[in-house]
Structure formats: C-alpha cells, structure tokens
C-alpha cells in the first residue's frame, strides 16, 4: 500500500450522537491523530477525541490583567507625573475617579485577547486545509458530521482504519488527500 498523498480517512455521520460515539471508540482503539468536523458545537466531542482543556482562559486573564494594570498606570502617569492638575485640592492620585477607565481598558484588552487568542490557538486564518479537498466536506457546515483519522497516526493503516470506521455505522467514508 503506497499512499504518499493520503492525509487521512474521513467518515461521514448523520447525527451528533453518532460522531461522538465514533470518536470515543476511535480513542479507545488507540487512534490519537484525528479530528472531528461538525456544523455546530457538539458537547463532549473534544474530550472524546482526547483533547485537553483549552488554554484560552489563561490568555484572556493575561489580557485582562494587562489592560487593568496598563490602564491604571496610564491614568496615574497622566494625573500625577505628566500633567498634574490641582482640582479642588484633591490628591493627584485620585484613584476612585480612575476606576471607570481602568475597567474599560480591562474589558477591552481581555476581549481582544479572547478573540485574537481563539484565532491564534485555532491557527486561523488558514485559507487551505486538506479536509477541504474532500468533495462532501462542504456539508460539514450544513448538516453532516465528520470524523477524520489522519494518516500520520502511528496506528493508521488504510485498510484496517477503513474497516474500523465502517464498523462505526458511518454513512460513507472518503479518502482525503493532502
């Protein structure tokens, strides 16, 4: 068997429950290099495929802390160092008045971190990916659920993996080329 250009085998399912069960079985059978493609989030699918929890919350926290510290520092620097103004004898570092802007910069940086972090961790934008070459894959954004076991998985064997996927009641199986 010589498949130098084979990216993986992709099984197509009708229902989220089917792809979830297939993902669990594939993980139990020892497959690791695989991914599922679904038209909407399917809960438990990432865990079934063996993906760990995402680091995204830490990225967002870092963004929020940066925005909070950075925002307050900016205001402190303006009001105390760069342009001190005596307003009714109040202290230059009148920190309660700095809270609204500090809050806004916190939210702004955390939100930017959430979106840019999500895109970066997902590797987006990515204009091309091998799965797009599968003719039926365009249904992954409509009503079909796909499980793709990749050829780089050490357990991958074109015949045995196909048999395994057929046993998962897949509606159809396609070869995906790189």
């Amino acid at each position: 068997m010589n498949h130098p250009r084979l990216y993986g085998l992709m099984a197509e399912f009708d229902h989220p429950g089917d792809v979830l069960a297939a993902a669990r079985n594939a993980h139990a059978a020892g497959y690791r290099k695989m991914d599922a493609y679904t038209p909407m989030p399917v809960h438990g699918l990432a865990e079934a495929l063996g993906f760990g929890p995402t680091r995204l919350p830490w990225v967002v926290l870092a963004g929020g802390v940066f925005g909070c510290v950075g925002g307050f520092s900016l205001l402190y620097w303006i009001a105390v160092v760069a342009y001190p103004l005596n307003i009714g004898g109040k202290p230059f570092n009148s920190w309660p008045a700095f809270i609204p802007i500090t809050f806004e910069t916190t939210v702004l940086c955390a939100a930017l971190a959430a979106v840019l972090g999500m895109l970066a961790l997902n590797g987006l934008p990515m204009p091309y990916h091998p799965v797009f070459s599968a003719p039926r894959f365009r249904l992954a954004t409509r009503n079909r659920f796909f499980l793709c076991i990749e050829a780089r998985d050490p357990k991958f064997d074109p015949n045995r993996t196909r048999e395994f996927l057929e046993a998962q009641h897949a509606r159809g199986i396609e070869e995906v080329e790189t």
């Binding site: 991914d35 909407m40 609204p100 802007i101 959430a114 979106v115 987006l124 934008p125 799965v131």
Partner: protein, 460 residues
C-alpha cells in the same frame, strides 16, 4: 377540545422557539437562502433607497457643519447641549438591547435569544455608529477627534482622567470594539456555511476570506465556545458600565435635573427599554417579509414585550423618584426644575414622554396585546419616541432655566439639527438593509443547536 388545559387561551410560554419540522439542513438552507439565492426584492430596494437618501441628507448636513461650524445647530446659551447629546444617548441606548440579548441572555441560558441575537447585535453596531457621529462632529473639527485620546503631543497637554467625558471616550470606544468583535466571532461559522453554499465564485471568495478557513473542527469549537462565553461574560458588565458612564456625564454635573444618584440604573433600564423597542420594530417586519415566522415565533415577541413592560416599569420608577426627591430633598432649584418640567414651556414634551414610556407599555399586561403584531409594532414605535423625548426633557429642560432669570432661554433646533438626526436614522436603516441582504440575519449554527435540543430525546 375536551382537554380543559388545551381549551384555554394558549399560553405563549408553551409556544416553541422554533417552528416544527425543522432539521439541520432546513434551517441552514432557509436562512442562507436570504443571502445567497433569493432575489433582491422591490421592498428591499425601496427600504434601502429611503435609507440611502437620508444618508445623503446626513452627508450634506455634516459637510455643512464642517464648512460653516457648529453654529448651524440650535445649541447656544443657555442650552449648550442639544440634539447632539440627546441623539447620542438615544442611539447608544438603542444599541444596548443587542448586547443584552447576545450576552446577558446567553449567560442566563435563555435559548429563545438565539434567533434574534444576530440582528440585535448588528443593530447594536449600527446604533453605536450613529451615536459616534455626534461626539465626533459636535467638536466642529472631527479631524482633530484624536485629541480626545491620551497620547504624547507637542502641546504638552493630556486629557483629564477625572472627567466623565473622558470616561465616555473609553467606554464608548470599548463598547464599539467589543460589540464588533462579538458580532464577528458569532458570524465566523455562518460565514463558513455561506462559503460552502455559495454558487458564484465571487461569493465563495468573499465569504471564504471572511470565514478565515473555518472548518468546524472539534478543537476549534471548544476554543470558540470558550471565547464566546468569556466575551459574553465581559460584555455583560461592559454594557452596564457604558450607559452608567453616559449617565455620569450628566449626574456628575451640578445642574438641577442631572445631579441625581438614580441616574445610572435609570439610564441602564431606559437603554434596555429603548433597545428592545427597536428590536421589536425591526423583528416584526423582518419576519413577515422573509418568512422567518418559524424562527422568530410568537414566543419571542411575547418575551420581548414582557422585557419592555418590566424595564418600562423601572423607568417609570425613575421618573417617580426624580419627582419624589425634588420634593423630599428640599432644594428649591430641584423643586422648581420638576415643576417647570410639568408646567413650564416644555410641559407638552414631558406629558407626552409620560404617555409614551409609562402608559403605553402598560398595555403589555394583556396577553392579547402581546400577541398582536400591529399592537406590538405601534407600541414599540411609541416607546422609541418616548425614549427620545426622555433625553430631550433631561437635556433641555434642565438647561433652559439657568439659576438667574436673565439667562433663561428656549432651545430651537434648526433644520440642520433635524436633517442630521433624520440622516442618522437613514444611516441606521441603510446599514440594517445591507446587513439583511449580505449576512445571515439569524445565527445558523446556533439554530442547528436548537434543532438538536428539540430533537435530542428522539435520537437517544
């Protein structure tokens, strides 16, 4: 009809949030067809045309303002804040319902929000765009607007971080940015759907670029959902902070009628009130013209009417407390201010405001009104007018009677005040029509989740 529970008037809470018989494929096809396959209707052209003409009026008014200065507006002593701040607050308030629907109702797991959140978020974005025109152009020199931001400059001056006006700069710009992010993140999976279903090469390329290669991977969905939930958690306090800061623009001032501690909650409730009214105004024709009754059901309209009633009561409480505190506070200027509102030269505006915002929504106590499309539409328009009058009353009546009778005056909006205001309405209409035509107006992937939830037990 022998079952007594069925023979009663149907309770709206029993209505489904999605019509019967829908599958993943049908929701996808029906919503994406509005963008991809349906022809551009005459009604769309008419609506967009009206909006576009008003945009021309806006451009003419703003060009005039830039050439001739802010003197073309009616603002002068003693009423130095006129339509610019009234319309700014009105538009920002309208925007708030979008964030409320998309963020707060998401956190509260109100899944009926799903079919209205996309266009409510778009409404937020467009309302904020309209609002931002006013602070930008009321300076008279919009090309120097960056002076409002803190940056090292050769003048050696910095903005004043103790002033609510600077808080406003940060609050509104953050709100605009986060609303745009939230909207775009929500759109990514649907843009991928449009990319995969588009028939023309041009649409495939445009939607393909916008979707950024989204392929619905399980790992991506996991991070996507985390990001979406965290954004909702961030947007929730943000939306409350924005109108709080807007209200502090007034409340930190010492003008009678502005200097009140009730302003922040009263403004936030008013914003939600105005915003839900606008969502209803948009949703009712939208579902009729595009046949979306299966997705925006009677249940949605009923729920929105209830939100309008609840926030309307909070707003009514705000008016009541303003009046009560004017009496109870014992400050003669405060007392004069409230009596002047009720009996002075702007009394018609004041009582119209009470009729629009306090009396009109009371009809929503009746289920029959909440389920009648014409009634909902008319009341939602009345509320929009009422909320505009509220801001007019707050701004103008508080300013037009200064402490000295020699500095009393009246506020006369000029033709340019009106044309700018109508122009922003036109901009809003034009943007909404463009959005309906070129973007999925209902979140397709979230509707699939609803289909799954409705079907769930059958597949087990």
């Amino acid at each position: 009809m022998d079952d007594p529970s069925k023979s009663q008037v149907v309770d709206a809470a029993d209505d489904p949030i999605i019509g019967p018989g829908h599958s993943y494929a049908t929701v996808t096809d029906q919503i994406s067809a509005i963008v991809l396959t349906r022809r551009t209707g005459r009604g769309w052209l008419l609506g967009f045309g009206i909006g576009f003409m008003l945009v021309m009026a806006l451009l003419y008014s703003l060009a005039n303002l830039v050439v001739r200065g802010v003197g073309i507006w009616g603002v002068t002593a003693p009423v130095g804040w006129g339509f610019d701040i009234i319309n700014f607050v009105w538009w920002i308030g309208i925007g708030h319902a979008g964030t409320l629907i998309s963020a707060i109702l998401l956190l509260l797991r109100q899944d009926w929000r799903t079919s209205i959140n996309r266009f409510a978020e778009a409404m937020t974005l467009f309302a904020v765009s309209c609002a931002l025109i006013y602070p930008l152009f009321h300076t008279g020199r919009p090309w120097l607007a960056y002076w409002m931001l803190p940056y090292p400059n050769t003048m050696g001056v910095w903005p004043q971080p103790r002033s609510p006006l600077l808080w406003d700069v940060f609050a509104v710009s953050t709100y605009a940015t986060v609303s745009a992010l939230f909207w775009f993140v929500g759109l990514i999976p649907d843009l991928a759907t449009l990319r995969d279903r588009a028939r023309t090469r041009f649409a495939q390329i445009v939607f393909g670029m916008l979707a950024m290669g989204w392929r619905g991977s399980a790992a991506h969905w996991q991070r996507y959902e985390t990001a979406y939930l965290l954004l909702a958690g961030l947007a929730t306090p943000l939306v409350i902070s924005v109108h709080t800061v807007v209200s502090l623009d007034f409340a930190v001032g010492i003008i009678p009628g502005w200097h009140a501690t009730i302003f922040p909650p009263y403004f936030v409730a008013g914003a939600i009130f105005a915003g839900f009214a606008m969502v209803l105004t948009l949703a009712i024709p939208l579902r009729a013209f595009y046949g979306l009754e299966d997705f925006i059901t009677a249940r949605h309209l009923d729920n929105m009417a209830k939100v309008l009633l609840a926030t309307g009561l909070i707003v009514a409480y705000g008016y009541m407390m303003e009046t009560f505190m004017a009496w109870y506070g014992g400050n003669e200027y405060e007392k004069y201010m409230i009596l002047n509102r009720m009996k002075g030269p702007y009394r018609n505006h004041y009582w119209a405001l009470i009729a629009c915002n306090v009396l009109a929504p009371q009809t929503f106590w009746f289920g029959r009104v909440r389920r009648s499309l014409p009634a909902l539409f008319v009341v939602s328009l009345i509320v929009s007018v009422g909320m505009w009058l509220e801001r007019f009353i707050i701004v103008v009546t508080s300013l037009h009677r200064d402490y000295l009778p020699s500095s009393w005056g009246m506020y006369d909006p000029t033709i340019f005040d009106w044309s700018t205001f109508l122009g922003t309405i036109g901009l809003f209409i034009a943007l909404i029509f463009l959005f309906i035509r070129f973007m999925p107006v209902i979140s397709i992937f979230e509707m699939r989740t609803l289909v799954q939830a409705e079907k769930g037990p059958k597949h087990e």
